[in-house]
């Protein structure tokens, strides 16, 4: 279903989003807009529904109530075929990278292209190698995911997320579980991609230092609601007890 479109249409528009699991309310009336080319960081304590929000945005879970418009298409009212067309415009980096165990590094990146691109196989492989090189993976292309480190898996996951040349990128904890140096490298990669591709991105993270590096705007979730929104500098000025405690403990 197509909503109103136009150059000023925000690529991501969420209104009154509710999601519960049994008696537990995870998202309680979330509303947000992400402008074209903007990187939005979503911060919050564990279990506040940040990852659920990303899964709702790509249609992996359905909301109980509310609308999600991606490039003007309300995905909550779309068929699977329409949803898949929207998904082709979105790259998703999973928390544990979620690389396919049975495919090697290069095949993981070729996989989405093989199903959605009319490029010849050799060109797909060339593009996969270029994407892998752009995220710092020039070696070990024939290794299986289980044979490379967590940081390398994140890089491969990022290359795979870029395979279909998306307009939107969703990152679920891109720096979680990584050493500080690798985490900083991944944060720099996100900044580089933002400049290079003018991507619209949502980054769910606990990493406040990383969020300062790559985010244009930050929203802070607590108990299923957005409790603060703005730049890092604006949030630091907040008098709200939760906001100031979260930023102080996380920095």
């Amino acid at each position: 279903m197509s909503m109103e479109t136009g150059d000023q249409q925000p690529p991501i528009e969420v209104r009154d989003l509710h999601k519960s699991f049994g008696a537990q309310t995870v998202l309680d009336g979330i509303g947000l807009e992400v402008r074209r080319g903007e990187t939005l960081a979503v911060l919050g304590r564990s279990g506040t529904g940040k990852s659920v929000l990303l899964k709702l945005l790509i249609g992996l879970q359905a909301p109980d109530r509310g609308t999600i418009a991606i490039e003007g298409h309300d995905i909550t009212a779309s068929s699977l075929e329409e949803l898949n067309e929207v998904r082709k415009k979105i790259g998703f980096l999973f928390q544990q990278a979620a690389l396919y165990d049975s495919l090697n590094v290069e095949e993981n990146v070729v996989f989405p292209m093989g199903r959605h691109s009319s490029m010849p196989v050799e060109k797909q492989r060339l593009r996969a190698r270029q994407l892998l090189a752009s995220v710092g993976m020039r070696q070990d292309l024939n290794k299986l995911p289980s044979e490379i480190s967590g940081g390398m898996q994140k890089r491969v996951g990022l290359a795979r997320a870029l395979a279909l040349d998306p307009e939107i990128l969703l990152f679920d904890e891109p720096t979680a579980g990584l050493d500080p140096i690798t985490a900083a490298e991944i944060a720099d990669l996100i900044v580089g991609l933002k400049k290079q591709h003018r991507l619209t991105a949502i980054v769910v993270t606990h990493d406040i230092r990383g969020a300062r590096t790559f985010a244009d705007r930050i929203v802070l979730l607590n108990l299923g609601k957005i409790v603060a929104e703005g730049s890092f500098a604006e949030l630091r000025k907040s008098k709200d007890k939760f906001v100031s405690q979260f930023l102080r403990e996380g920095s």
């Binding site: 898949n84 998904r87 082709k88 544990q96 396919y100 199903r115 959605h116």
Partner: protein, 239 residues
């Protein structure tokens, strides 16, 4: 719901030929040694057990026919179905279960690839195609080892054993039980994929999925055997 999505993905392009061939190898070729061994053991046991009774009733000359009939009509198909339920059922259930809990299936959906088409259809069709072929192998090994076991007691040439064994075998004795195993393959594939794709609860959940895939697939194979034998007798009545 699961079967409807599976059926739709199976009959609409694009088809995942490469993954289908890979699964045929994983389910068919990799199960062959185990199925052959199980078939051979069945042939030996049938020969040894039946021999005693046949000698007592003075019907020793019927031994080759009894071994051949027993293997091709029931023992071969059921043994193959149960062995593949154990090996491929657990393998598919655990593999898809592990992909589910590590978000690999979510990653596939997020990149607009239908996991039913890529993961489930290929495995279900590979099971359906491979089971009849594996049954032929189990039958061959069972009959051959039945002859070997028989020859140890009462030397008889392989040709004579096969001639007397297959003398009374008709089309309706051989083909329907082989085709019956295609249904067993369908059951094993559907049960294991269904269990795998609804796995929850981390590695513990993967263990539960592997167990439930084997238990349910074996159970449904045995139940389907009862129904299919009745159906075969209805279509090809005993003369």
């Amino acid at each position: 719901m699961f079967c409807a999505r599976l059926a739709k993905a199976a009959v609409t392009p694009p088809y995942e030929w490469r993954e289908f061939v890979r699964q045929c190898d994983a389910i068919g070729a990799m199960s062959l040694p185990l199925v052959a061994l199980a078939g051979a053991a069945t042939g030996v046991v049938l020969s040894l057990e039946t021999r005693d009774g046949m000698v007592r009733f003075g019907a020793k000359s019927l031994l080759p026919a009894i071994i051949v009939f027993s293997i091709i009509k029931e023992s071969g198909p059921v043994i193959t179905g149960l062995v593949v339920s154990g090996r491929a059922g657990a393998g598919i259930g655990a593999e898809l279960g592990s992909m589910k809990v590590t978000e690999q299936i979510d990653a596939m959906e997020a990149s607009a690839v239908d996991p039913y088409r890529y993961l489930a259809v290929t495995r279900v069709l590979a099971c359906t195609l491979m089971l009849p072929l594996l049954t032929v192998a189990a039958n061959f090994c069972g009959i051959f080892m039945g002859w070997v076991a028989n020859t140890l007691w009462d030397p008889i040439s392989l040709r004579l054993f096969l001639d007397s064994g297959f003398k009374e075998v008709a089309f309706s004795d051989y083909i329907p039980p082989i085709l019956k195993t295609a249904v067993f393959g369908l059951i094993i594939g559907v049960v294991a994929c269904f269990q795998g794709m609804r796995t929850k609860g981390g590695t513990e959940g993967v263990g539960r999925t592997a167990t439930s895939s084997v238990v349910l697939a074996s159970l449904f194979v045995i139940l389907a055997d009862v129904v299919l034998v009745r159906l075969i007798l209805f279509i090809w009545p005993l003369s």
